[in-house]
Amino acid sequence: MLGVLLLLCVLFSILTVTEQYPTGAEGARMLFDDVMSKTPPTTPIITITPATEADSAFSIALHERLTASGFRKSLIIAGDPQAVRNSLTQLADSVTGSTIIATTDAFAPIVTSIKQQIPSIGSAPVVTPPSYQWPTFLLPDNLRNVANQISVIAIIAIGMTMVIITAGIDLSVGSLVALCAVLVAWIIGRLGGQSASTSSMLVACITSMSMCALIGVFSGLMITRFRIPPFIATLAMMQVAAGLAYIISQGKPIYQIPESFVCLGRGTDPLLKIPVAVILMVILYVLAHILMTRTTLGRYIYAVGGNAEAARLSGVRVSKIILFVYAVSGLMAGLGGVVMASQLRSGAPTYGLTYELYVIAAVVVGGTSLSGGEGRIPGTLIGAFVIAVIQNGMNLTNVESYTQKVVLGLVILGAVLLDQLKQRRFRMLS
């Protein structure tokens, strides 16, 4: 499946090659290397940008580089066209003809038209960071975006992989996402709303996730104690959890959440700017992989899925193993709900709708057999990314959203088919 993922990445890289106009600190660096490094430091430089965050990063970074290289006359103008015009007019007397105006590619046409209305700097050249050919898909921002988009589904898929390896299925995860998100928001609302403290937010998260794990345990009990098929037991819990989410939220999104709560869903690490949710996802995958390959519990999970009766007659406490996997599945769905609430800074009963299907697709594309006993945790991560990359790639290549669904369905089918063919060839060789 890794091959399919890489193939998709290559495909979308080729399809999305376009002219890239760098912005921010990166753009400043490229502009400096391109123009200013060949300009005498006596040249006055005016950096003009709108007052947004990314644009400020550009102008500040450029200014810092200029002063560090001995440019004495470096000015920054930030604001809307009107403000820029006013500032430039005021400066008109003090600037000479050799002045260079720096700006970003998007703002360049406006800057040029303003400058032409001011005679003293009318001849000053307007420079922008050099553009270059590069796949939009492979831009760091886009890659972060792909990972961040899939993190919730990938996290839930950890629990689902374990459940499916025991030859079960958990349809309730989508609804548990909604229930947990709503519950977190509701509890935070009770504990101070916008001004809730960090510890009360933590309490809200732990309580809600435990609730989801308990619902998982309940499904597990129905399956082990009363021999209700997993499909039915979790289908019922899917309805129950969805209903509870609507009851708690009274059908409306809950917004009373402090700003600091978004650090989980929108935060990034300071060094590589990797989203926190993605880091969390990677840690959980590593832990789950170790659990499944190195511990007795993992071995028992495979054994129960491969042949429950043989496992029981070998002394494995099969019921406990099944309870465990459904608890993990519930817990992971709850965590997914918390991450989602944090990303969106709200809790609504509509979150996680049809997520169970994406999660199951990720697990199956990742090579786990629905008949149990076989499958690998890293495979599921790859499966999740296959889905994420297809969705992202189609967005970038402007495929219509209805068509996207058709393509996604066919790709899931194709991926599993490929796996089957590969296995059959392997069987024949061995």
Partner: protein
């Protein structure tokens, strides 16, 4: 006497190669009309491959098949069936939820227009079942039938398709002695009507008593094919293994220790008030007809099924066993009858299968010490002479004998004090059986208590120290002087 026999079927110089192994290298076989013909050989000799080729499941690399003098090739099981060869494998192909009638005519439904003519099918079903001498409800789903009756339905299916040749893979493996007798009397009747039967069996006394002719295959080649009266048990075994075997049932004498297992008034389902005890180093056999409750008794002791009442004492201490996990923890283990369903996790590696009950012994805080695990696994593989290509090989790829050894290795590692075997030699070949007997003897010599369920009375008489006989869920008697007892003595108590 019969210079040019009229062959119903001839297979000549059949070769078949699988990647890495030459399964058949010049096997031949012929079947006369109305003959009962047994195919014997060790596991891996190529018997199954040969009948798979005959039934169209596999195709031969070279060689010829002639049916009534006409050369034929089968591309699929359906083609072989249409040509009049019906094969009944160990795993039945009946659809459990469908009725007997529907199963009999599956794939060749009798229709009127676009509708199935149910009345006609039922009438014909009754005629066929009558011919087989079974009286069952033709509308009952086959899942409700006993294994022996299901087998009759399979045979009925062959008859419904007008088959002239019946091929059966280990037809008696799951049958009780009476059921076996009945099966063979039906086969004889069919033979009188001209239907030839080819069957594979590991039970040599059966082969000798029922077959008209025997073909022996060894290492993919037909080594001998003669009328049954020219064989005795000993020469047959020698032909199969290719060397003389000294003693079929090796019996080691051991001195018994203390009473280790005591069962008092065990009751559940049809098992009523079973009480017995067994000593360290003693091999106790459990005999009885199919359904007499012998398998149930060992399952109850192991906690695989829950007992209604009864007390189990282990080395003088009363133990509470609610599930197999409890039994394993207190030192009782059970090698189940059905290796594939109740023993092995077929798609898991053989190392994982070996380690399943003992994982905790080489784990700390739940983390498995894989170095230690491999070391122990290797030790047992060497000791038990298990033939494997790699520890990561799937359990399903091992032969029956090696699968059984793998399960023994599993419980040896667990080092239980009471080891219960349910049909330990079912479906494994002569050589592997011999090794199994030696192993059981060795375990007893090491002071283990062995409880052994078997439907092969010769085997029980050959290696047990004492035999308990069950009848209808109760202990009907006990044979203490095993050396001077016969199969008839056991049967007298069992029926």
């Amino acid at each position: 006497m019969n210079p040019q026999p009229d062959f119903a079927l001839r297979m000549r110089a059949i070769h078949k190669r699988f990647p890495g192994v030459q399964a058949l290298s010049g096997a031949s076989f012929d079947l006369r009309p109305g003959e009962i013909h047994a195919l014997v050989g060790e596991n891996g000799a190529g018997k199954s491959t040969l009948i798979k080729i005959l039934s169209g499941v596999l195709s031969a690399d070279s060689g010829s098949i002639e049916l009534l003098g006409q050369p034929v090739t089968f591309g699929s099981p359906a083609e072989a069936r249409r040509a009049g060869i019906s094969t009944i494998f160990q795993e039945f192909t009946l659809i459990p939820s469908l009725s007997v009638t529907a199963n009999l005519f599956l794939g060749r439904e009798q229709t009127r227009g676009i509708l199935i003519d149910i009345a006609e099918e039922r009438r014909n079903a009754m005629v066929i079942l009558d011919r087989l001498g079974v009286s069952i409800d033709v509308d009952a789903p086959t899942s409700q039938l006993a294994v022996a009756v299901q087998q009759m339905v399979e045979i009925g299916r062959a008859l419904a398709g007008q088959s002239r040749i019946l091929v059966m893979d280990e037809p008696t493996a799951a049958l009780s002695p009476q059921e076996v007798q009945r099966l063979f009397s039906i086969l004889r009747e069919l033979a009188a009507q001209g239907v030839g039967t080819l069957f594979i069996s590991h039970r040599l006394d059966e082969v000798i008593s029922v077959a008209d002719r025997i073909t022996v295959i060894r290492d993919g080649i037909t080594v001998d094919s003669r009328a049954t009266r020219e064989y005795d048990r000993r020469t047959l075994i020698q032909q199969m293994v290719g060397r003389p075997i000294e003693q079929e049932y090796p019996k080691t004498q051991t001195t018994f220790g203390e009473i280790s297992l005591e069962v008092v008034n065990l009751t559940a389902g049809n098992v009523r008030d079973v009480s017995f005890s067994a000593r360290e180093g003693e091999i106790v056999g459990l005999a009885g007809l199919m359904g007499s409750g012998r398998t149930e008794v060992v399952r109850l002791i192991f906690g695989a099924d829950s007992a209604e009442s009864g007390v189990i004492t282990l080395a003088g201490r009363r133990v509470k066993i609610k599930c197999p996990g409890d039994a394993v923890a207190s030192g009782i283990c059970l090698l189940t009858e059905d290796r594939k369903k109740e023993g092995l996790v077929l798609h898991a590696s053989i190392r994982d299968n070996f380690a399943l009950p003992s994982l905790a012994q080489w784990s700390r805080l739940g983390f498995i010490n894989q170095v230690e695990e491999n070391r122990r696994f290797e030790t047992h593989v060497l000791k038990l002479n298990i033939r494997i290509s790699s520890p990561d090989q799937h359990a399903e790829d091992l032969s029956g004998g090696n699968q059984q050894k793998l399960l023994v290795a599993r419980w040896l590692e667990k080092d239980s004090s009471v080891i219960m075997f349910d049909e330990p030699t079912r479906g494994i070949d002569v050589g592997a059986k011999h090794e199994m007997y030696l192993l059981i003897g060795e375990l007893a010599a090491r002071g283990k208590t062995i409880i052994m369920v078997s439907s092969e009375l010769l085997e029980l008489l050959g290696i047990c120290d004492r035999i308990l006989v069950m009848r209808r869920g109760r202990l009907a008697g006990e044979i203490t002087d095993v050396r001077h007892s016969s199969q008839e003595d056991v049967m007298a108590m069992a029926v």
